[in-house]
């Protein structure tokens, strides 16, 4: 297709043929989400380019109309500031590292779980599915809070290890990188299992039987048949864990310590403690930039699921 015909195909999406009712059905979610989801990102970008000021709201206007001329102030100072202080780079790196590690653990634990669920009897499948989902319907905050009690110095984990004689003195478990990873895996495991299960139940078992009849070993069959056929579920599950985990605030705040620097917490502190909105906006903009590729991957998978 030539560029021109492609261009005309893009614009000739036959809006004229859509009835008024259809247009209204499209417009309702489109307008709401554009206003409250898309437009705010433009504002984040805008504020990230303005200067902090002691005023309400605490930033200087980007454009001003003075003496008949429009003056526009674009200030890259916030970004330069983020690059000059190694704390921010360390926080981004810490977030990506922690999110990656947690996603990996979720996948390694979630995949066999999803497999066992998909192979269970149909009636048991429903029960298992509800059992895996149920924790995610209770309070996220409270489930993280549970780990504060378990991992504390006098908590259950230390009592158990002391009782078994594995350690002589309580281990510092809370406020460590380990606790953050445990928390993320705990909170996000259902979101890994669910898409994997959805893909594995659709898997055609006769393919596995065929492979085994032809003499393929179990491990070999898994690598060459099962794994490639469940790629969609793996991508969806990993993105559902990785992307929100990068920006996680509650878990590093409650379970993390001085060695766990994560960008979600840094952004929160810049905003609520330092009241530096432009720097918080710049932090959010860079975070979005880092997440573009994972977001596109997730979007591609999800649009396939949504397609008519």
């Amino acid at each position: 297709m030539s560029f021109r015909s492609r261009l005309s195909a893009l614009f000739a999406a036959r809006p004229g043929r859509l009835s008024l009712g259809r247009r209204a059905v499209i417009a309702l979610p489109l307008v709401w989400l554009s206003l409250f989801f898309l437009l705010p990102f433009a504002l984040v970008l805008k504020i990230s380019l303005s200067e902090a000021a002691i005023s309400v709201p605490p930033y200087a206007p980007l454009a001003e109309y003075v003496d008949g001329t429009l003056r526009v102030f674009l200030n890259l100072g916030n970004y330069l500031f983020l690059f000059s202080d190694s704390l921010y780079a360390a926080a981004y790196w810490g977030s990506v590292k922690t999110a990656f590690l947690s996603t990996l653990v979720c996948l390694l634990l979630g995949y066999p779980m999803a497999w066992a669920m998909a192979r269970a009897r149909p009636r048991a499948q429903l029960v298992l599915l509800l059992l895996v989902m149920l924790p995610s319907w209770t309070s996220f905050l409270i489930r993280i809070y549970a780990w504060m009690g378990i991992l504390s110095n006098s908590g259950l984990a230390n009592q158990l290890l002391l009782g078994l004689g594995v350690i002589d003195a309580p281990l510092r478990l809370l406020n460590t990188q380990f606790a953050v990873v445990v928390g993320i895996v705990y909170a996000y495991l259902p979101f890994m299992v669910l898409p994997l299960y959805a893909h594995l139940t659709r898997l055609d078992m006769t393919l596995l039987e065929a492979a085994s009849d032809l003499g393929s070993r179990r491990f070999n069959t898994f690598i060459t048949v099962t794994l490639p056929l469940s790629t969609g579920g793996i991508v969806a599950g990993c993105m559902l864990v990785f992307i929100p985990a990068v920006g996680e605030f509650v878990i590093p705040e409650l379970l993390g310590g001085p060695d766990t620097l994560m960008i979600g917490k840094v952004l929160w502190d810049e905003f609520f403690l330092n009241r530096d909105w432009p720097v918080a906006a710049a932090l959010a903009t860079i975070m979005l930039g880092l997440l573009v590729i994972p977001l596109v991957l997730f979007h591609r998978h999800q649009s396939r699921e949504l397609a008519p």
């Binding site: 614009f11 999406a13 036959r14 259809r22 059905v25 499209i26 979610p29 489109l30 989400l33 409250f36 898309l38 437009l39 705010p40 504002l43 504020i47 709201p57 634990l109 066999p112 779980m113 497999w115 066992a116 429903l126 059992l131 149920l134 924790p135 319907w137 209770t138 309070s139 905050l141 409270i142 489930r143 809070y145 549970a146 504060m148 378990i150 006098s154 705990y186 495991l189 596995l208 179990r218 898994f222 929100p244 990068v246 920006g247 605030f249 509650v250 705040e253 409650l254 979600g264 952004l267 905003f271 909105w277 959010a284 975070m287 997440l291 977001l295 997730f298 999800q302 949504l306 397609a307």
Partner: protein
């Protein structure tokens, strides 16, 4: 294929223990007489009494329920047309934009969504004078926005399974599209609307980060109150609250399971009947 299932079965059992053990510990210590959450000092229900006398928590529960009810209802009103458009309309201007706005909120880090919405509300207030005060209304808008994406996904999954020949038959017999939707499609997808509403309701009840950004003085949701208490350390009152939440969710899930199983049985019975 005998050894692999047993390995995955063990992983499933381990995973379920991992998911439920911390919740069991929470429940157990809510009945602890001692205020130290880690030392057992006998059975007591006094923390439940203290919880029910805590005015701040009760007010926050009421605020959270109100916001969640209205956010879930509005999210169904927005998410259902979004799902319909994604699964039934082939090409129109804005399809890609709508598709990305339906999928992105599912994974978008909350700090980004919260900050961006706050900046929007501040800008709107500067331009139009509304919202002059941030509070329940702004939390409602924020929750509606991200919840409608979840509703859209749940409803779209159901819409894809619906046999379209029924809708086509109605249209062939002269039913206009809107009437076809309300008379044919809506009754079929109504369980998905209920599921979507419930999911949106729990998501709204659970949100801390977005609500913290867009809330103003005076409007404290339950997670905001719990967070400020938990930040200071563990407290048995929160354990009691957790137990009540777990109990409510478990009961709701049990009812859902029963309804689904009965529906499945009915379906099988009607399939088994000759000519049915």
């Amino acid at each position: 294929m005998r050894r692999l299932p047993s390995f995955s079965g063990a992983a499933l059992a381990l995973g379920l223990v991992f998911l439920y053990l911390p919740m069991a510990v929470l429940v157990a210590y809510s009945f602890n007489a001692s205020s130290l959450v880690t030392v057992w000092a006998g059975f007591s229900t006094k923390w439940y009494g203290e919880l029910l006398r805590d005015e701040q928590i009760l007010a926050a529960v009421w605020t959270s329920f109100k916001v969640a009810f209205f956010a879930a209802s509005m999210a169904v009103c927005l998410g259902t047309p979004a799902a319909l458009v994604m699964t039934r309309f082939d090409r129109f201007r804005g399809r890609t934009v709508l598709a990305s706005m339906v999928t992105a909120p599912l994974v978008m880090p909350e700090v980004i969504t919260g900050l961006s919405l706050l900046l929007l509300f501040v800008q709107m207030a500067a331009l139009t004078g509304w919202p002059a005060d941030r509070g329940m209304a702004t939390i409602w808008i924020a929750h509606t926005t991200f919840c409608s994406a979840y509703v859209a996904v749940v409803v779209a999954a159901r819409l894809r399974e619906v046999d379209r020949s029924i809708e086509e038959a109605a249209m062939d017999l002269g039913s206009p599209p809107a009437k076809t939707f309300f008379a044919v499609t809506l009754p079929i997808i109504s369980p998905a609307l209920v599921a979507g509403w419930l999911l949106a309701f729990t998501l709204s009840l659970d949100d801390l980060v977005i609500a913290s950004f867009v809330s103003g003085p005076g409007a404290n949701t339950l997670p905001m109150v719990v967070f400020s208490s938990v930040r200071l350390g563990v407290s048995p009152k929160i354990n009691a609250l957790a137990t009540l939440i777990i109990l409510a969710v478990s009961l709701a899930t049990l009812v859902a399971w029963y309804v689904m199983r009965r529906g499945e049985k009915k379906r099988r019975a009607s399939l088994a009947r000759p000519g049915g």
